[in-house]
Symmetry: C2
Subunit: 505 residues, 2 copies
């Protein structure tokens, strides 16, 4: 009875949170410019309601009663797990003052609009006051959550439970050590031709090709849709409505298509959760008041990266699908071969834009952002000094001079959206994608499927081992169950090394 009441309360919170997700999706895809202020109010009100319900007496009493009710339940009972998970998330949520959460909801909407305008006008000063306010609020959040050795730790922990700046620094050091010589080897080698990908690629055809492959990977359009946005993203309102966006450019076909497969990877995770978890705590992130089935942001990213990079950038993938790609663009791809596309989409080319970075340099963009975020959180760096700090690190890590803020500090949506501490999850996702993919390749049928362009076996294995569990397994538990170990960058470094060797052979 009490457990059922707990479930009902969580289901209602999930409904509100999914409505907030829709308000967010709409504001980034459909909303006319005039709607921004009203939308801020709407998000703030629903966020406050969800928070009040999550931290309120009614849910508290239901949980206390449910724990008594389940006093005799075996230790592994999923209901105990549900209660413990709700307890932990509500604990973090309760420590953040309601005032901050309400202010944040309104600030996010305004900051996002300011960011869109600033980015278009290359006007960092137009965004800086809002970013400054956002960072001040984030420092308050960090102090309120507490428990970290560094003010950055509680921020990262919201997205990747248990992760710390100290552990990140260790992982980053191993990656830098391995990646720097690989980047050098790749950039010193003869460069592949990319000219044929910079022609006029009709966006409708890019979408048609990209979506056809995404559906074959396993993304279900009966429960999804694709739209255009400045910054690609995936968002769900239960497993039965999981939407993706991409950013297509006529003059550079791979950008939009690979972003589509990236977001479809996120989407398959959400669509693959067991229906039994719908509207439960296992598809509800109470810390972020976000409707999501993924175990953590890092685990989520492991799936986007797997489909985008481990699958989509493999040599075999282009041997299989080049013909279809050429059918969509016969004029542009005249005289081009599968291997040319494979080489081109794996070209190592240090650049300014994270979302367009190649696999080898991508993590350098993350390391840069992580270090800047940590410094902002610690108060070691002022928002006004951000463009200079960005420029310096781009010089140090990738040898590039940043020409303007649109290509620098204004390129990412995250800070405007109140996400500080989420960037490291991209690199954690890269690491985990290789760990899971290495294990998958030992499973009978998966390699044969990938060789034949049949993605069913991989998708099925991921559904069984990752997707269906939703948030009922932590990332650590998932890694342990699947790989019999913890976080380990070795398979990722091995994948990148093998790729560079193949490309430069």
């Amino acid at each position: 009875m009490s457990y059922a009441r707990f479930q009902t309360e969580i289901a209602r919170i999930n409904d509100i949170i999914c409505a907030i997700n829709l308000l967010a999706w709409d504001s980034r895809t459909m909303m006319p410019p005039g709607g921004v202020d009203a939308r801020g109010h709407q998000v703030a009100t629903l966020t406050a309601l969800a928070r009040d319900m999550a931290t309120g007496d009614s849910l508290r009493r239901a949980m206390d009663g449910a724990r008594e009710e389940l006093a005799q339940a075996p230790k592994g009972d999923i209901r105990l797990r549900a209660l413990a998970q709700a307890e932990a998330e509500i604990g973090i949520l309760s420590r953040i003052p309601a005032r901050i959460i309400e202010d944040m909801a309104g600030l996010k909407t305004r900051a996002h609009s300011a960011w869109v305008a600033a980015r278009a006008a290359n006007d960092f000063a137009g965004f800086a006051p809002l970013l400054d306010r956002m960072m001040a609020m984030q420092r308050e959040v960090s102090a309120a959550i507490g428990g970290g050795a560094h003010p950055y730790d509680p921020m990262v922990g919201q997205f990747e439970p248990g992760m710390t700046l100290a552990e990140l620094r260790g992982l980053y050091d191993r990656l830098k050590t391995a990646l720097v010589p690989l980047i050098q080897r790749a950039t010193a080698a003869p460069q592949p031709r990319v000219d044929f990908l910079t022609q006029d690629f009709a966006i409708a055809q890019q979408k048609a090709f990209g979506l056809k492959i995404a559906q074959r990977m396993g993304y279900d359009l009966q429960r999804g849709r694709l739209d255009d946005t400045v910054h690609p993203f995936e968002i769900s309102f239960t497993r039965d409505d999981v939407r993706i966006t991409s950013r297509f450019r006529e003059a550079w076909a791979p950008g939009g298509i690979f972003a589509l497969w990236h977001e479809a990877g996120h989407g398959m995770y959400e669509q693959g959760v067991d229906p039994v978890h719908t509207r439960t705590i296992f598809t509800t992130d109470l810390v972020n008041l976000y409707g999501v089935a993924g175990a953590s942001f890092g685990m989520h990213e492991s799936q986007s990266r797997m489909w985008e990079n481990r699958v989509g950038r493999s040599q075999r993938f282009w041997e299989l699908h080049f013909g279809e790609f050429r059918d969509h663009f016969p004029d542009q791809l005249r005289g081009v071969e599968a291997t040319d596309v494979w080489r081109a989409v794996n070209r190592v080319n240090p650049g300014f834009i994270r979302v367009e970075a190649d696999e080898l340099t991508y993590d350098m963009h993350i390391i840069l952002r992580s270090e800047i975020e940590a410094a902002l959180m610690a108060g070691d760096l002022a928002v006004a000094d951000l463009p200079a700090a960005w420029a310096e690190k781009m010089r140090d890590y990738l040898g590039l001079e940043v020409p303007n803020d649109t290509l620098g500090v204004l390129q990412d949506v995250h800070w405007s959206h109140g996400y500080v501490g989420s960037f490291p999850t991209y690199t954690l996702g890269n690491i985990m994608s290789s760990q899971l993919f290495a294990r998958a390749q030992q499973v009978p049928g998966i390699v044969a499927g990938l060789q034949a362009g049949d993605y069913g076996p991989l998708h099925g294995w991921l559904t069984e081992n990752v997707y269906r569990h939703g948030r009922s397994s932590s990332p650590q538990e998932t890694l342990q169950r699947v790989t019999s170990g913890g976080l380990d960058p070795a398979p990722y470094i091995a994948d990148l090394t093998a790729k560079v060797l193949a490309l430069t052979a």
Copy 2:
């Protein structure tokens, strides 16, 4: 202090209701088919929350306190008006059991999907069980609200406060008496050519032309957008985000374009409300838990009809805009003249589809539906007998044999959406559109503007006299203020008579 608390509570309720509006808009424009069940839960939960807040103790206490606070306020104080309006709407809402409202929210979403499928498959039996449940629920609602001489009265009163079946019958009798001979005269006269409008009209060009004119009328795309749906509608999430949809067909250009202007008329009403009313009771319909600025459904319809018919179907309008129309479709309109378009879009042609009906026969569709709804509410007609009843009335009123249910009882979205009693407001809108337009034409500058294609004077006058007030004036008060009288079909009958005389001259 208490009044401010009242305002804050209403603002939060408005935020939730606007989020419900967005969930509804999305489910009819963007949502993938799989999302329907989850969407039903989301709408039901938010609807229950809005209702709980509207009927709850916190708002009640704020209102009681506010009334004391304003004991010395002058009688016409807008704050007293706000409190009285909230009181009246909460009264109706409170009388409807929460259980019905929650069930209704879920049922609406399912019924809408069943209707879409049934309509596409011409399968009334697939929709009938849901419609039967909807009607049973509506009878419960009627009994709960109470106060009517006929069970249909409380239903109509939800949309048009104070309106009754008895009054409607009186208006309908006057209309039938006037319209039947007009329809006979028009159909007996030589028919205009319409062949040139049934060619291949590219939908993108229809939209471009339609939107250009709608913007000139006064619809603001910075605070709006246009999408495609099966059944055109307008919906707002505050005055700053007012969206319209239309249904375009390549083979019949006027359908989509006039529906666009119709919905733009609704949209201008919402966009024109004074910003001071944003997130107040004067833009919040607590009876229908619907975010809307219009004084009533009938007054709202008066604005869509005015821009669609009084303006868009006038002879002068096509003299002014035919050139632009032809610029968008030079091949299709070769050898056609302005007067041909004017005659074609006013062709009197009894047909099956209400939304495509000409002005002369339109009200017959409404009278048919009103009578069927009243009979269903009184229990005089069973859902299973509906197609037969529909066929009989189409025969009696328009002399037509209904070939199938898609062209008959399945054509309208309303019942699937839980709107029973709203159809009469379309005819009330027609009547009021002519009353208001007759008055407008006496105002200096408006006729000159219409003659010159400058819609600013009419739009400005409507904004000043109707739009800006939102729900702070009732339809009766608005009519009294503007026309110094009450509901009167004479100007509408005069407009239609003049039109038929001009067309058959």
